[in-house]
Symmetry: C2
Subunit: 700 residues, 2 copies
Amino acid sequence: MTDLTGFFNPRSVAIAGASQKPGKIGNAILKNIISSGFKGAIYPVNPKADEIEGLPCYPDIGAIQEAPELVVVAVPAARTLDLAKACGEKGVKHLVVITAGFKEVGREGLELEKKLVEVCSSYQMNMLGPNCVGMMNTHANLNASFSATYPARTGDITFISQSGAMLVAILDWSVLTGLNFSKVVSLGNKAQLNEADFIAAAANDPTTKVILCYIEDVANGDYFLDVAERATRKKPVIILKSGTSQAGAMAASSHTGALAGSDLAYETAFNQCGIIRAHSMPELFDLAVVFAEQPVPPNRNVAVVTNAGGPGIVATDTVETKGLAMARFTKDTIDALRQSLPAESNIYNPVDVLGDAGADRYQTALEKVLADPSVGSAVVLVCPTAVTDPVPTARAIVDLHQKHPDKPVLAAYMGGPMLAPGAKLLSEAGIPCFTFPEPAINAISGMSRYSEMKARPEERRETTINADHETVKNIFEHARQDGRLVLLGSEAYQAATAYGIPAAPVLLAASPDQAVQLAEQIGFPVVLKVASPKIMHKTDVGGVLIGLKSAAEVRRGYIEITENIQRYLPDVIIHGIEIQKMMPKGTELIVGMSRDVQFGPLIAFGLGGIYVNLMKDVSFRLARGLTEKEIQKMLTETKAYTLLKGYRGEQPADISAIVDIIARTARLVTDFSEITELDINPIFAYPEGASALDIKITVS
Amino acid sequence: MTDLTGFFNPRSVAIAGASQKPGKIGNAILKNIISSGFKGAIYPVNPKADEIEGLPCYPDIGAIQEAPELVVVAVPAARTLDLAKACGEKGVKHLVVITAGFKEVGREGLELEKKLVEVCSSYQMNMLGPNCVGMMNTHANLNASFSATYPARTGDITFISQSGAMLVAILDWSVLTGLNFSKVVSLGNKAQLNEADFIAAAANDPTTKVILCYIEDVANGDYFLDVAERATRKKPVIILKSGTSQAGAMAASSHTGALAGSDLAYETAFNQCGIIRAHSMPELFDLAVVFAEQPVPPNRNVAVVTNAGGPGIVATDTVETKGLAMARFTKDTIDALRQSLPAESNIYNPVDVLGDAGADRYQTALEKVLADPSVGSAVVLVCPTAVTDPVPTARAIVDLHQKHPDKPVLAAYMGGPMLAPGAKLLSEAGIPCFTFPEPAINAISGMSRYSEMKARPEERRETTINADHETVKNIFEHARQDGRLVLLGSEAYQAATAYGIPAAPVLLAASPDQAVQLAEQIGFPVVLKVASPKIMHKTDVGGVLIGLKSAAEVRRGYIEITENIQRYLPDVIIHGIEIQKMMPKGTELIVGMSRDVQFGPLIAFGLGGIYVNLMKDVSFRLARGLTEKEIQKMLTETKAYTLLKGYRGEQPADISAIVDIIARTARLVTDFSEITELDINPIFAYPEGASALDIKITVS
């Protein structure tokens, strides 16, 4: 892992391209470093000035008496290569390249960017950017960016953004809200350091509690997954990934030249490595505040305390929609609430302390529900009434949360000026306070999801699978020599069998005699299919015959198919006729693979048969590090699973056999990166075992 | 329709239970009426005072020289009946009963409430409440409520709320936001006047542009649908309906005693009558602001103008997720943008005017895209940069919107203090300004949906259906006399046939001889089924035989089934054996009906067969006023429709036959309210015609 301690906590900082002119980026950066209160040495570098902003100015990096630990680069793009070399020679460790005019402007820029990376790598220098806003470390009083905004309060959120403008916008907005930052990083073009480097650094940073990212892509799927898998076990990593829509991805690639992976792969990858995915900017920042200020809830059961029925119902609806549960209080809690609240109060959840409740009644109710062992979190709703005590109520909430620091407490102060002082008190005391109940409950839902993901088993080793690698390699080579990229059915059968995937035998016959011999070998009844990857819908051209029960039928069938093909498709080359053992009907399933540019093979499982595309009953997992446990979870996400368990009194299917097929398929496509597509459809699942009926493999 | 003109614009108002004591509700109401600037006569009524708040006080309603047009009631619950009678005698037209202690406190309260309604009805008085906060009409300077908040600015939103607390909360919150109200109504227990009365009044109110509701249930489904169907053709009606979750509905009923209809019925009803459903409080009020301030977009194509790539991508993603489309500019627009923007700008949608854009560049870009005939709406995103001109940019947006008043223009000023003055200018000038892009685009999506719903065909007449009502009536009576609520297959077949629903004939045989005779009558092959509504899974007990091709097989089958039942279920009464014509296999569909407490019969259509519950491929419509056009739309919402159109080269099914079956089913269940459940599963759809195979009808 890249060590970024010095990057964020440099002893000294030089600003290459520092400028005397207000409004120039090179001036803004220098002013920001000075005004943020940075304690180390600051070296403006500019051959045309002697002094800038009261500091002595150096003509070049070499002229500085020491090697500055960090150099912020704001020179024109054309001069960056020379500057980087000078920094390398001097012994600089870290660069922040603000300068634009690289990958984002086209091919020439991309070439320049590659050269810049080469220079940095040759001197083992870390480089952020180019084309970025810079970075901040509030704990080192360092604002090495040209952003005019700077967080007023230091805090424990690390915010990593692939959009510089969004980063500045959020910094400005944070002044109005409870977002306090530890580190802020503008990724720019991610030519060298990327989001994964900073996630890794933040995971090990004692001043970071929450890692927040806005990204448009990941630079390196494998590295990202490795880092995220470990980071999410330590701290919440919340990501807003844009470019999820087709149009959005187009906008993304015209913007940064980023090659956006398919959203499905991102969704799957994030889920598998424990990342909380935010689906909008408001959600991203709501989650950030709540994760930064509150503990993760011990369970999904939410208690709601309200002074009005309507908002209580709205909150209850949201609890259910967001996959949480309304806490069921213990008898002790209910008794205690009954004794201490007015008779008309609702003492079940949501607890309604009534419109005439002052702070004391909120205090009583919240105290009792937080003490209930079944309650995992609490949301307090306050509507303005003639007797509402927004500030004392806020104080009571803060006190009670201190007594129960292990349970998150959130508030929705539903109103404006009448409640504002109370809302302010809450926010400042670390109780996230919303205007409406829904975002509060949505944030608890995010925390609950994280809590469950954090508890996922450590071990993600793949099951050991005995596989005959050599056989598959030979099959692929043979097909390629033969000029085919789509394997014949008999080849696919052999490849699957080599990896222990149970399949109905498929043998290739080149003559009627051989067909009969092979049919007798595998046993009747059999299916005959024309062997030709070029023919997509074999049935439509009379290329398939099923249920042949004797040597005579097979012989006749061979001739019939051959004639049919000659009649319908006289120009198509056929490789013979495939003889397949006819299997008893089972539950039809599909297992497939598509390969994602970023995250590699993506395994699909679901209902099989001819209606696959209509039903779209499919769940996905990355093949990478796929465990048996994860495959089992994958199955449960489909309707197919309901069938496999035994639907409407039918006998359950052999689920372990299906799990095994998926594990072996994942292994096969991981071992052979030349498999570009793989579909097993249908697989018949039986009460004992399963059998692949039709296997399609395409290689590159 | 109830005329509420005088209710909202009374010449005179009396306050029964007016009080001298500050803090008392009877004092708060009087003060509010006075301080809101009401111009008509104000009569405090209280036997114990001579003067309150500087006005002469009357001992009772009768003592007032004229009949006050509106009386606000704040006397104790026990005195409300006498008071209402006195009002009626005096000739009062409208009551607002603030007093609590009715339905919401239990059975006695409910009795009192019923009596109060009786009194009001007997004098033809309108009554709002009881147990409500009151009402406001800003255009008459009338705040007849005990809410301490009062909207500062009059506007054109009518807000109708079943939660008084939420209403007060929103009034307080509106001070901070752009919500300006025309009428505000707290529904309370809805004992007499209900949400539909006020929606109808608001629809005809020239000072109302948008109708906003928070409800927990509707009082009368039919009346609500009638009113909403008409109101939504005039103005947007936006509703947040709570109690959608199971837990939420429980909270709702413990709160108001409201009988919450199932959410599915609400969802269907809202869709069918053109209501925009908000799914959260933030969404409800975002929609309110946007509908109040902006025109409805002419089409779904959104243009985005931004000074930063990242937010542009986020906006593009949201456009797609929310069912909108990114506008594709005409060549003229693209050329004009190319000529007037810097070379590095993105001139396609989203238009990126770059980080160094001032107001002029925004002006240029927005002017061009608004002039593009393909653009239906525009969203302007502004991130803070060193050169951002938030206020001049805002002015440019306002000016351009005035030039294109037919296209909605929204803004997201992404930041805090740096952008606040610009955001304020926009809000005040009627351009809704958000912090993040997503809520802006979501609001446009709501407007687009409304625009499409508003354009729905006027004619909602049901198709004329010839139906033999008498036959069905007799079948039901016969079954009831026989002590059965579930019809026999042969009865259900007759009932369906009487309504013109094509079905495979089912005849009931009481002996082997009769079975043979009936089988010969309908033609072989036939199916035999034991006729006993008590036996759920007939196949499991050997109660079904299929594909019987001769008289001999039928005779043997009759005996076999009888013996099987005697063996497995010796105590079950069987009504004979049903002979059904065996039909060729078609696409399996289901048509069903469940009856909603509020909205009546709900018709379901989807994929049929034994996997119905697994696939859950079903769309719903209210039977009420169901047109052929609507049924056709209903079909297209399912996967079944893809099959019917001819999936994977199969012959298309006879869709008009399916539409006809649904129309006839809707008519049947509408004509016979005693049908509590109806399931036709499967229906076989053929290239020509369709046939109901299994019809289950339960009557009450």
